[in-house]
């Protein structure tokens, strides 16, 4: 089948505008998240349940830090800290692991309303723009072929890529404008935005991308609240991990390390 060449005017008035508009909206969204993060004030602790959640989080952080950096402590100091956490009767982790499992519904509703509002705002800015762009593209630019994908595809993709074009035998490689929209969306205008905005917006971009993936999967998931159901199990796991740590004080090895790095330095 011979190649179809497409009119110049489609390129000028459809292809390039879609790309430019989507790119602009992406940059605008980046600026918007930056602005909203500047406006965010620190959240006050309001309810008692939230206080206990913070305590739990701090306990796990403490035990994880101990497990990770145990080499910096001399022997007796490490043993004392470990006993403080893991002792059979009075250790913090044992006491915490005996708490009852939290009801998932309960723990979700007792969250800080400000955090909910924040997540809602982020979700909104993501979904609204996506829906808007989709509507715009499908309203104005439907019904014709806009380009060609360079790789061969099976017939199964025909409905997705050629929406609105009713020519039956047309090669699946010729795509309509909605598929350009999808290619741009998934392909990562975010990455290019990331290049432009520099390194300090890494966290924001990760958030929106993570959100988008979650929206795609359709789950009302909570990204940062990992231990809804059973904090007791988490504490038991932490405790077994701490008790299994083989402790060596790094200072004992320091002479050997010094010799090694001096040798390496002198050789260069």
């Amino acid at each position: 089948m011979s190649d179809i060449l497409i009119d110049d005017r489609i390129r000028d008035w459809v292809f390039l505008p879609i790309i430019i508009v989507m790119f602009m909206i992406q940059m605008f969204r980046g600026l918007l998240t930056k602005y909203m993060d500047n406006k965010k004030t620190s959240q006050k602790v309001t309810s008692k349940a939230q206080v206990s959640e913070m305590i739990d989080k701090n306990i796990t952080q403490q035990s994880q830090r101990l497990a990770r950096l145990h080499g910096l402590l001399p022997d007796h100091s490490f043993k004392m800290k470990r006993a403080h956490l893991c002792d059979n009767k009075s250790g913090i982790l044992t006491k915490a692991s005996e708490k009852p499992a939290k009801d998932p519904m309960q723990s979700m509703s007792m969250m800080n309303p400000a955090a909910m509002a924040d997540m809602l705002k982020q979700n909104l800015s993501g979904i609204v723009f996506m829906a808007l762009q989709y509507q715009w593209v499908s309203y104005f630019f439907s019904g014709f072929v806009i380009g060609k994908v360079p790789f061969p595809l099976t017939q199964k993709f025909r409905t997705m890529l050629q929406r609105g074009v009713d020519v039956q035998n047309l090669d699946v490689r010729y795509i309509s404008s909605i598929s350009i929209y999808f290619v741009l969306l998934f392909g990562g205008l975010q990455k290019i935005q990331q290049l432009m905005f520099g390194d300090d917006t890494d966290e924001f971009v990760d958030d929106t991308q993570m959100q988008m993936q979650m929206q795609m999967m359709g789950m009302p998931a909570m990204p940062s609240f990992g231990q809804q159901n059973d904090p007791g199990k988490l504490f038991i796991a932490e405790r077994t991990r701490l008790e299994g740590v083989k402790h060596t004080f790094e200072l004992n090895k320091s002479q050997d390390k010094a010799i090694k790095s001096l040798k390496r330095f002198l050789i260069q």
Partner: protein, 109 residues
């Protein structure tokens, strides 16, 4: 290319510098896949040859990185797998997008 040194010795991985290195690597890879997409699109490559170009340019970027580091990977990254091969799938979609755009702009439209 600024790549501060990292000394890997059990506890002593300097987190800040490692993070900076990986960010630079990420940026480099994005540039690499942008270029690969442009080359594949402008030259009108089709199908699997285009994918081959992506892999080839990815490996060229890794090779340049190795030369710049004087082959001493351990001082800059956690492992050589990390530095050379790990991110090949993440920028693939970006490459596809740029490939489709440039292929259309140059050859068809």
């Amino acid at each position: 290319m600024e790549e501060p040194k990292v000394e890997l010795d059990d506890l002593e991985v300097n987190q800040e510098r490692l993070k900076q290195n990986t960010n630079q690597l990420k940026n480099l890879r994005v540039y690499g896949s942008l270029n690969a997409g442009m080359i594949a699109g402008i030259l009108g490559m089709d199908g699997w040859i285009g994918m081959g170009i992506y892999v080839v340019i990815f490996l060229i970027v890794s090779a340049c990185l190795a030369i710049k580091m004087n082959f001493r990977v351990k001082e800059y990254f956690k492992s050589s797998y990390d530095a050379y091969y790990s991110g090949i799938g993440t920028d693939l979609l970006l490459f596809l997008m740029i490939w489709v755009i440039f292929h259309n702009l140059v050859n068809i439209l």
